[in-house]
């Protein structure tokens, strides 16, 4: 079964058409030089960007995108940022503390405002937010860039566990081969 179907998709005027089928529970990595359109393609799949031409078919019910930059409201705490998600209530948030926060080492940082967190801590909140949506399709835009090796290993394990348990499809962008989740299929621009 196909989760994402891209047919003659053109992101920029001079870019070559993209044809790609991403199957259910598959894991893909987009690779290419800076400015070639990797992030734009991810945004097209997420429905945030309109292509110049071609067709996009996404069959996932719930999509989550972990943005390259954390995109959190700076004056709110990490907890308040996560509580903005429409389906999260306080009880679920308590369960989430048990499930995720201790694992990713954010339990103590949850009540601190975002502006006081480090880049790596913000990125972990960003990734947690994406997982809390419980998506069928997870899009990751260079999430490893601001994480140290220790935290990357934790996040990697967490996402791998999530993919298996929730039968989720993954599309990721990473410049470093050491910062990809499991062994992905590669699409080169």
């Amino acid at each position: 079964m196909i989760e994402i179907k891209l047919t003659d998709l053109q992101i920029f005027v001079e870019s070559k058409p993209i044809n790609l089928n991403v199957g259910l529970q598959e894991n893909w990595q987009f690779v290419g030089a800076s400015g070639c359109g990797k992030t734009s393609l991810l945004r097209v799949i997420a429905g945030l960007h309109q292509p110049i031409s071609g067709d996009v078919e996404v069959n996932a019910k719930k999509i989550a995108l972990a943005f390259q930059e954390a995109r959190l409201i700076p004056h709110l705490s990490a907890q308040e940022n996560l509580m903005l998600l429409p389906h999260i209530n306080k009880i679920e948030f308590g369960q989430m503390v048990d499930n995720y926060l201790e694992t990713v080492g954010l339990a103590e940082q949850m009540l601190r405002p975002i502006f006081s967190l480090s880049g790596g801590e913000k990125q972990r909140v960003n990734i947690l937010r994406a997982l809390l949506v419980e998506p069928d399709l997870l899009l990751l835009d260079e999430i490893g860039a601001s994480l140290d090796q220790y935290n990357w290993n934790i996040i990697q394990n967490l996402i791998e566990k999530y993919l298996v348990e929730n039968k989720c499809t993954l599309v990721q962008i990473s410049h470093q081969d050491s910062r990809v989740i499991t062994k992905p299929k590669v699409y080169k621009f």
Partner: protein
Amino acid sequence: MKNFLVNKTLWGSTELARDDNQFIYKNLLAKLSGCVVLLSIWWILSLYNHPTLIPSPNLVFWALLDYVFDLNFWLDSLMPSLFHIILGFFSAAFIGVSFGVLAGNIPIVRHMFSPLRVLTTSMPAAVGVVLFITWLGLGSTMVIVMVAVFIAPIFYMALCDGFDTIDYDLNEMLQFYNVSLVNRLKHFILPSLWGALSPAIRLAIANSARLTILAEIFAATSGLGERVDTARTYLQTDKLFALLIVMVLIVVLFDKFASILLARYDVSSKHKRQSF
């Protein structure tokens, strides 16, 4: 161990105080000494000039006391002026915010409004008074309409600037994750606009008071402005000075009230540099 409060300026850092209390006392002392200097200059000038030109602080104090114990002053002058200021301010806020939200979100509307904005912001207030008297005659309506028309652009421009500085990447994220409009307004849009809107509100309050008095001088049949006109006609400079003090007090009180309210709702200021 106590924290040292440091004032950071373009010229470097200077130590202000060892703790909050010392900082507050130092500021209060500086303000009081500013008042004493002003009073001294006024008193010295009054010694060398006729009271119709510069009345002494003593004379003005008694004129002020006369007003305080005069019920007619409260009912016929102070209350109508306060009514004009408040109604003019809120009418301006309603007009300015409505148009500002439209223009901040729809670029073509902003271009359409730009001639009107230029007209209202560059027109001298005295010309406005003459025009509004011609159109609306004398009385309270003219004063309120004039304040509303002249103050609305402050809100309008603040909102346009505010919408320009909104982080649209954050907004995109909130829309992507289906965050409700109420939460977006409460936690993101309003705090983002607050930085531009907050100083505009304080500016609008002070200008509403000033414009109200100006319009009342020319056109009102009641209010502080009407008293100013009478005092000017009979060369009662001591009363003129007393009325000036009343007006300054009104602006200061409104400004203080506004700053307390604004600070209470300024959720985005937590991470800003403390200003001195």
